[in-house]
């Protein structure tokens, strides 16, 4: 039973003399999930889930007696519980904190653009979208293959959001999210009569159904599973390595923190305008921007949580850092104008084709999948076991599948001579249990990194 409304919360906040501002975010989520598996040669649904969730979160700023300081708290509010005690606890908690003071804009932006953030087919009927994608999965599982289908998952959700700021801004938006995965396995008897088996799990996130590409997801998982038994361990050494867009998306989104006012303020690793993004780079020079305007991308939005309109922002131009991404708070702390602080990472493509990248050195290791790539945001290093790779040998004209061993790299060192493909790819990633911002990427589908350490 609702005891109070959002307007009443805003009125109560306005009445509190110590409250200097607030950001209220309300979200309604509808999510459908299906977990498929093979049950005696038939496609079975192991779990079928329907989720409806509502959340109201408030970031409240309070005045402190100390000059130039303010307090703040982020807290969820529940309309089914009395408002007064929740608000008292929040204001009291905020007063215990201590931040350099900053202010929301006096007046909200007007004429905010409309961005394409929700697939209209999902927005209209989540259930129908799930049914149609499930039917497609059924058809893909039924395809005769050399591999065995193991399992699949399908999540489709719609997130309706409202943003209310104390300066009067009210902004409504919707975002759709789609997750799917497919696992196929391969088994056969080896020369000693023992059964050997391995698998390939392919996963993907998207905002729009057109970017889901279930055919590619399932066919690629099956194709790669088919090769998973014809593998060798890598020879230890240093290799030119081709990585895919998923890897580039993760590395660039992680490394973006070096270009933020937040890092500068907290004395975390920071690259200032005028410096080289990759010191001494001599390959394809990186041009990188934040673009919150791309249609159906993971971090597309019109306005930030702090009420600033979000527009494309060039951060790195031909390897030269040209701007610092600063939200209102950290822009104020660093005494710089606020900029776009959210958006999809866009990297300019290179000039070579995927095939040319693979042929650019006598021996090129193409990583198809890492077991778990762990990038370190502070040092820019990354490392992982190799789940599946291909070794392209131009001298012998052979391609050998590789599994095992690990790869260690560093953005500063291994991107120095990087070459990017002219083919591009669009990638999205979300944390499944969290409604926070996603990570979007639009840029080269492949990159050739140099001199990467591999141990086999």
């Amino acid at each position: 039973m609702a005891n109070w409304t959002l307007d009443q919360l805003k009125q109560e906040l306005s009445k509190r003399p110590t409250v200097k501002g607030w950001v209220l975010s309300r979200e309604h989520v509808q999510r459908r999930e299906r977990y498929f598996l093979a049950d005696r040669q038939t496609l079975a649904i192991d779990q079928d889930r329907n989720v409806r969730a509502h959340a109201l979160s408030a970031r409240i700023f309070v005045k402190l007696s100390r000059e130039g300081r303010q307090g703040e708290i982020t807290q969820k509010f529940f309309p089914s519980l009395p408002l007064g005690p929740q608000l008292d606890a929040a204001v009291e908690g905020a007063a215990q904190t201590d931040h350099l003071a900053w202010d929301l804009p006096v007046s909200p932006p007007s004429n905010l653009p409309t961005r394409k953030t929700a697939d209209p087919r999902i927005a209209e009927d989540v259930e129908r979208a799930v049914r149609q994608a499930s039917e497609k999965i059924g058809l893909l599982v039924a395809v005769k293959r050399a591999t065995q289908f193991s399992s699949a998952e399908l999540f489709i959700s719609l997130h309706d959001r409202e943003l209310h700021l104390s300066n009067g801004l009210i902004h409504r938006s919707s975002q759709s999210r789609v997750y799917s995965e497919a696992a196929f396995s391969m088994s056969r008897k080896n020369a000693r009569g023992q059964i050997e088996s391995d698998e390939y799990l392919n996963t993907t996130w998207a905002v729009g159904l057109d970017d889901l590409k279930l055919d590619a997801l399932f066919n690629e998982a099956s194709d790669r599973a088919e090769h998973s038994l014809d593998i060798k361990k890598p020879q230890s050494g240093r290799y030119p390595v081709v990585v895919e867009a998923d890897v580039l998306a993760m590395l660039f989104n992680t490394h973006l923190s070096h270009l933020t006012a937040l890092n500068a303020y907290h004395r975390l690793p920071f690259t200032k305008p005028g410096d080289e993004f990759i010191p001494g780079a001599e390959g394809d020079l990186i041009t990188l921007s934040l673009d919150p305007t791309l249609d159906f991308a993971a971090d597309t939005l019109a306005v930030s949580e702090q009420g600033l309109e979000q527009k494309p922002l060039l951060l790195v131009d031909k390897n030269r850092v040209v701007a610092t991404s600063a939200d209102l708070q950290y822009g104020s702390y660093q005494k710089t104008s606020p900029t776009t602080s959210r958006g999809n990472v866009v990297v300019a493509p290179g000039t070579l084709s995927y095939g040319e990248l693979l042929r650019s050195e006598p021996l090129v290791l193409e990583v198809l999948q890492f077991s778990a790539l762990f990038p370190d945001a502070a040092s820019g290093t990354f490392s992982s076991e190799i789940r599946l790779a291909r070794l392209h040998d131009q001298v012998t004209g052979t391609v050998t599948y590789i599994k095992g061993g690990s790869l260690s790299g560093s953005i500063a060192e291994n991107f120095k001579s990087a070459r990017f493909s002219k083919e591009t790819a669009k990638k999205a990633h979300f944390d499944s249990g969290n409604s926070g911002p996603g990570q979007g990427y639009f840029g080269p589908a492949y990159a050739l990194l140099s001199d990467v350490s591999v141990v086999g």
Binding site: Y35, Y179, T203, F374, K403, S432
Partner: protein, 530 residues
Amino acid sequence: MANSILRATLDPELLPLRKTFQQLLPLLDQSPKHPDWYGSIYFERKHSRSQMANLRATNVSSQVTIGAVLRIYDGYTLFEQATDDLDPSALTRTAQEFADRVGGTPPSPGALKRPYEVPSWSDRLAFTLDPEITSQIPAGVSAETPVHFGVRFERDPARPSTEQRVTRLKGLVERFVAIAIEEGMKPDELSFVMARGSFAEEESIFIDRETNLSQTLYRMALTLVTMSSADRIGDRVGGLGGLEATEVTEEEMRIQIRKLRALKTAERLIPGKYRVLVNPGIAGVIAHEAFGHSQEGDTCARGRSKAWELHKAGESVGNELATILNSPAIYKNGATSTAAWGSYFFDEEGWLAQEHVILDRGKLKSPMTNLTSAIRLGIPRTANGKRENWSQGVYTRQTNTYFSAGDKTLDQMMKLLGDGFIATECAGGMEDPKGMGIQVGIQYLEEVKGGKKSGRVFKGPAGGDIQLTGYTPDVLNAILAKSKIEFDSASPDQAQHPTNDTGGCGKYHKEFVFAGCGGPWMLLDPIMLG
């Protein structure tokens, strides 16, 4: 002194909701039209309060997740309807619509019906259960008896005010700065210090036709991060219990600063095979990634685990020292008085916590399960049905996964190590349940020569983390020795369970849950590091 034990209680405000769930159950369970349906209801409320202090600010946040999951297993599929609209009339409407939806969903063509037999309390009490569980079950318990389990604590975690918590964290940050200077760092060299404390009350209710369970856990954590440029040392202490779970000593803080200093002069490791001594935390991650994930029943049911094939074939996948257990019933973690990080009294599908051996001296035992994987595989249920939160799906998940203890002291292990490396700081890991690969990240290695630390420290070949990789049976055959739980003493262990660290797990790259991982110190040779 049994009456002096302090335990976490269920908020009385939740009692009307508990009654509502009991009233809703007949809509989901054994309805006249669907006598085979197994209905159940899971509810959770997690209220986490955290405070943070760093060199430039202090912060406070309060997060609550609250919701219910209505569940029907129809013999083919587990259907769930998750909602946070907990008004009784809304719940009744949701339950009715949910039952109608499930009733109108035909099974997949050709699917095999596998009905579920719901165990009664007498069935449940026939299992070997920890006294911490049995002591909280009323005598004469029946299906209607509300049974509450509360975690034991010594010092009430709710008592300190927000101001007192923030003041403590600010004090820790200031102390780190002072220690850094005492340890020879220049004032500017310690670029970032952060102390974060959190206290979460995790309350849950599970109701089916045979049980009416609730539990309250207090999850305590203190995270300390120090950085010097891009070098970073992070440490988290915590467990389930009271304020005693987050104590940190001056010596532990000093060691953290020394580790950070050592990283400043770290060399780069030449990739290769080495002799390495890993601490209990890293031993636990090896256990978790080796035959933790591949012994998750849902992974087996999906045809994605090699362990299921090897278990059925009875093949050996490790040596005599390779014994791995999973237990949510660790109510005294190592030599401490607090419960281990991945502990609880029952899982999110109402199954009571028990210790489960998943690998016994190199031989795989029956996998861990959740409801549907146990039914599909035709094997016993274990208490491993977990979800990220009420809005996420339930999977077979690990709780506390650890190697069994050995018989050596740490001094003896160091002598056995001789020349090699010590690994104490974990940096993640990943499973490969079908391909049987393993990846365990290590932040850095300390070199040992002649059983003594040489003072040299090594990072990975590119200056980042080091990855321990290999074929899982090879790694488990490389275990040469294991320490006692109380490894600093030659006396027999008093502690019952090896120490489990505070960890997390992201299964299938996305579903995050808390997980403990631990064991003894373990000596391995040869191990691939790169």
